[in-house]
């Protein structure tokens, strides 16, 4: 297995055309090794959302190459990108994005529905509930399987979302402001959980604007105006300081 999980080469993203063109990404080169825990920081408008969308295969770059898990995904069709998301990426959203009318268990089972029919690793129907139950037990919600999202606290809901992100055992977890809607206690809980995943060897990319949250990561990438302006270990303090000095 190669050491690099993902690698972008000169990735750009433009919106609009002609005079009104917006350069959301101006040429990003980013490499992430397997097992790394990377935080992406930057002020709003810096392009970090666009970068996350491209890294999450929700969007395609205007130019440049993006290799994920040994596969160039920058030219894939919408349907092929959906398969890549299903197998290789687990999403954790700021607003949890659980389906309100489904139980925690059903929410966690959802990614297993969208396996390609011919996929070898496609879990059998009777295995799915078992795997979802295990994933919920792993995030400490083994006693909340049949609760609906509105019967759970914010922290618990985000843990359901984390179980959902993990259930297909993807090589990459993308977390977009995972604590943005949580109080400090729940934030602490969720970050402990994510830290635990990192120690188990899961690769994590996390967008945040909060330096104390970014401090959990071992490497902080700082974006500004669609370019990486700082990339280094720990703290993320330098990113904020630079901003402050401006």
């Amino acid at each position: 297995m190669e050491e690099l999980l993902l690698n972008t080469q000169n990735v750009t993203k433009f919106y609009g055309s002609d005079d009104a063109t917006v350069h959301a990404l101006a040429g990003v080169n980013l490499s992430v090794r397997r097992g790394e825990f990377v935080a992406i920081m930057g002020p709003s408008g810096s392009g970090k959302s666009t970068l996350m969308n491209i890294l999450g295969c929700l969007d395609r770059p205007t130019s440049g190459a993006y290799v994920l898990d040994g596969e160039d995904v920058s030219e894939l069709s919408r349907a092929q990108l959906a398969d890549v998301r299903n197998r290789k990426i687990g999403f954790i959203f700021q607003s949890f994005n659980l389906l309100p009318r489904l139980s925690a268990l059903k929410n966690v089972m959802m990614p297993m529905l969208y396996y390609r029919q011919d996929a070898d690793e496609r879990p059998r129907v009777d295995e799915r509930e078992e795997r979802a139950t295990r994933a919920l037990e792993d995030v400490g919600l083994g006693d909340r399987l049949h609760h609906r999202p509105n019967q759970l606290s914010g922290g618990q809901q985000q843990r359901v979302a984390i179980a959902r992100a993990l259930v297909n055992q993807p090589p990459l977890i993308l977390a977009d402001e995972p604590t943005g809607n949580l109080d400090s206690h729940a934030s602490e809980e969720v970050m402990t959980l994510i830290g635990g995943l990192h120690r188990k060897g899961v690769t994590i990319l996390m967008v945040t604007h909060d330096p104390t949250i970014a401090a959990h990561a071992e490497r902080v990438v700082c974006l500004r105006d669609g370019l990486i302006v700082a990339d280094g270990p720990g703290g993320g303090g330098n990113c904020v300081e630079r901003e402050g000095r401006r």
Binding site: N53, G56, L58, D59, R78, A79, A82, D83, R85, N86, R87, F91, F93, N97, L99, R101, L102, M110, P111, L113, Y114, Y115, R116, Q117, R164, N168
Partner: protein, 401 residues
Amino acid sequence: MTFYETLGVAWEGLALNKARSLLTTLGVIIGVASVIVMLGVSAGAEAAIAERINSLGADLIIVGPMRGVPGAARTLVYDDALAIAENVRGINGVSAEQFTTQDVSGGGTLLEAISVLGVTPDFPAVRDYRLLTGRFFTAEENDRKTKVAVLGYGISQDLFGAEDPFGQQVTIGSTRFTVVGVMQPKGVIADVDYDGRVYIPLSVVFQKFSSTMVGADRVRTIYVKAESREVMDSVIAQITALLVERHDVEVSQPDFSVQTQQDIIATQEATTEAFRDLLAWVAGVSLLVGGIGIMNIMLVSVTERTREIGLRQALGARPWDVQLQFLLEAVILSLVGGLAGAVGGIAGVYLFGSLGTMRTELVPASIPLAFGAAAIVGVFFGYYPATQAARLDPIEALRRE
């Protein structure tokens, strides 16, 4: 994702919003039910007319005097009937009829002014009448002017009640007759009471009841039974040619008329057809409205569930998975509506029929027809909303509140 998994997701989506799903299907339920009921009502009306034609004889040709021609009433005679029987090809029987109104008594009861029909022995075969008990009179009895009578069901009831009148004596006018049979009840058709009649040999009418003013062998009507509906036109042409020659009249100014039951009932049939077409339109339109209802709700549903669609896409749903999910929701709605509508429609057909005001007949083909139409409505009106759902950009969709 397999088809059945998508079906499961679609079903789940509907089950989570039961009240709305039910209201949405209501349009299809009403549409399908009305298709089945409307077809049942018009089939009932058609059957009633067909039955009327058959009860009067569908392959029957009626020869009578031409109305409004002076002197025509006395030109049609028994020999004309014999000539038709002898010369016309493609016929199964000829029955000449003359009638007289007489008082009839028997079993101690007197009935005044009863229609007494003098007919030939072919009468039951030609007119498609059946006997309830006893027999009809024979050619021999007609030739010998035997005083025998066959009673209409109503007359038999009035005179003898439940008793079998076979062998009983009845007096018609001032002549005594022996009863040899009773006709099956036919009921009242077009205001004519077919059961309030007595049938005797035509020769006896000529002998006992004919007015010398118009001639002893005059007949009012000659009924000719064709071998099949196909030869009707040929038989009519032959009869016309024969009578023109015998009566020595111009073809353009005949003193007789040749009609079929079809002519008489054609107008009624045309009316029923127009009625059926109208009903079919109404039913079709209501099914269309039901389909538009589905499309409307599916569009609302796609808008409402934009976030859900975005999430499913992020988790790996391909555009086709999303499209199929919403398409199946529409198809399930219309099929469930079709099923409920079929049950309601069948119930409606029997309910309307039992009210007694109209006759209905369940058309078996209307069930798969209505069901198929509902399925097509589902696919047709579900396609657009489903395509809208599949086209959503996951990033935009996830950002939507």
